[in-house]
Symmetry: C2
Subunit: 339 residues, 2 copies
């Protein structure tokens, strides 16, 4: 038998106690005593009563009335991915400071799940969205924008959709990383990317392509299917080891931290030495990179800054700004021993 939950004090309780109307109390509560011409003495009395009776506004009632919930929906591909979990951490902290609460969902890069999450969140009447869009199904993002809901895309964006985003300068980061490999004397540089039409991946591939082209080197790209990761990575490792294969490499550039991890697991299984037998550059960062036998050189994304910017822009939008922000953040190449 659950103990009786003590009912909270309502505006009405305060009003009754003082023998005034709820309107007055509400005005004082919302700092409108000037505009609404509330008497000076009664203001003081109301403030006291609010304090004494330990009044806490009912969020739900307020939301129903105002149509604002002070809630933000965050959809990432996987909250268990350290890049996203640390970004989420930052988003929650920042949102909290501004009086917003965050609800999080993981889409697994899957359209149906994304749509279901968006539906749930719309149903919960979030005031705005921060979304890492999944590949292919832009309908729900379009819906969000068309309905006039504030939306900030992070990590990647949908070029066709005119809305806010905060991303890495993916082309630049990738170009930079590959050039570093080139400067270290590697000639057969491979890139392991995801097979997707998402712009961030396209840009990372373009950075790689541009860099190897400028150096007069051959292009070796694997596009791994997200839902056949293991098979495709296996095939990849077979090809890149084979001296007779056109895709034989001396260095590998991985396009995300999940790909880096998957690749390294396989490299370990095959007992390949890094960087002697194959050099490696990772992406995104992961504590695991620090502990690899050869600590990994990698492209570090400013995940926290990304989260902070996203919240800042979103709240601006929620509060009525009409301007659309497109932000590209700079990467950092962390140099260590893997190449």
């Amino acid at each position: 038998m659950s103990k009786g939950r003590s009912k909270r004090v309502s505006l009405k309780d305060i009003a009754n106690k003082l023998g005034v109307s709820t309107a007055l109390v509400s005005y004082v509560l919302n700092g409108q005593e000037k505009e609404k011409r509330v008497g000076a003495e009664i203001v003081i009395k109301i403030r006291q009563a609010l304090e004494e009776m330990n009044y806490v506004p009912n969020h739900i009632a307020r939301s129903l009335r105002n149509g604002k919930t002070q809630t933000i929906g965050l959809i990432v591909t996987d909250i268990a991915n350290p890049f996203f979990s640390s970004m989420a951490r930052c988003i929650e902290d920042e949102a909290g400071k501004k009086g917003y609460t965050v609800i999080i969902g993981s889409s697994d890069e899957n359209c149906n799940k994304s749509r279901r999450l968006v539906d749930t969140m719309l149903n919960r009447q979030v005031d705005g969205f921060i979304i890492v869009p999944a590949d292919g199904c832009y309908d729900y993002a379009t819906l969000i924008v068309n309905e006039g809901f504030p939306l900030v895309m992070v990590d990647r964006y949908i070029p066709e959709l005119s809305t806010n985003y905060v991303v890495l300068d993916n082309f630049g980061a990738s170009y930079d990383a590959v050039n570093y490999l080139i400067s270290r004397g590697y000639k057969k540089i491979g890139m392991v990317a995801y097979k997707t039409n998402l712009i961030h991946m396209k840009e990372r591939i373009r950075g790689y392509t541009e860099a190897v082209k400028n150096a007069g080197l051959g292009k070796r790209i694997w596009e791994i299917r997200y839902d056949h990761q293991k098979d495709d990575i296996k095939k990849m490792t077979q090809q890149f080891q084979d001296k007779n294969n056109v895709k034989n490499v001396d260095a590998l550039f991985f396009a995300t931290n999940t790909l880096t991890m998957a690749g390294l697991y396989r490299v370990n299984e095959l007992k390949l030495q890094v960087p002697e037998e194959v050099a490696v550059i990772g992406f995104d960062g992961n504590e695991a990179f620090d502990f690899y036998s050869a600590p990994l050189t990698y492209v570090k994304q400013p995940g926290n800054e990304m989260g902070k910017e996203a919240i800042r822009i979103l709240v601006e939008q929620i509060e009525g700004s009409g301007k659309i922000s497109h932000i590209s953040l700079a990467h950092q190449l962390i140099l260590r021993n893997s190449c």
Copy 2:
């Protein structure tokens, strides 16, 4: 200028369209057409209209009326910690299946933050809590229980508080891990734990103590302060390396993944070989453990199962069960090369 958000269809809209009262529509919506004796034809018409007009219930209004928000508050120490982020992932998925939404907060093992999070969540009228309690300040947990809110503690619990929990058999796991070290011939086994009164840590320490005592070995414990981690770990490494110190060791057992990581960073800085110069057993798991020069032997916690159980119990409670569940899950010792 934000585009006009198209107003959603309400119960009233449906009722008006059909020329019936909202009560009827509500009954049909909630499957009470039998109890509330709604006519067979009108039921069909209402169902059709709900379908056609694409009706979606207003969650906020429902919450205000029912006093239930179908929302769960989850407080962990740090959502960026992979142990908790993967648990959170699992909790969200399971909660979603049962029609609940989760809001997450990170306490950083800090009382004030914990309290603020609980306040926010109470204010948002969550239906129940899943909490990883922080050290020392049990007031808010007691408050939650006394107010009659369902609460499930995970990872650790507060013995004085009679409520549900799902934890690891910490004593057993620790005992087992240390015995494994003993069976491998290590004689000077040290344990690195956090300085805290929390039961899970006490139990892990008790497991270690019991194991070394039974083997007639000396006790070497470091209790690291959570907010002076770096200093304390440094001091620890100085002592355990010193052959003349009573705390000199040939093997280290770390009590959490954050401690393991912090310890390994330091071990790497000092260029100590694992396991030759010092053997290591970790706790909790972390992808990083797989990539350590000597892949780490560690105590694996069933984080997903913990999350699943927690949600199951919590929802049971929310739906009115009075029974209190105390669940201890079994660990798994993952054997590899670090000892």
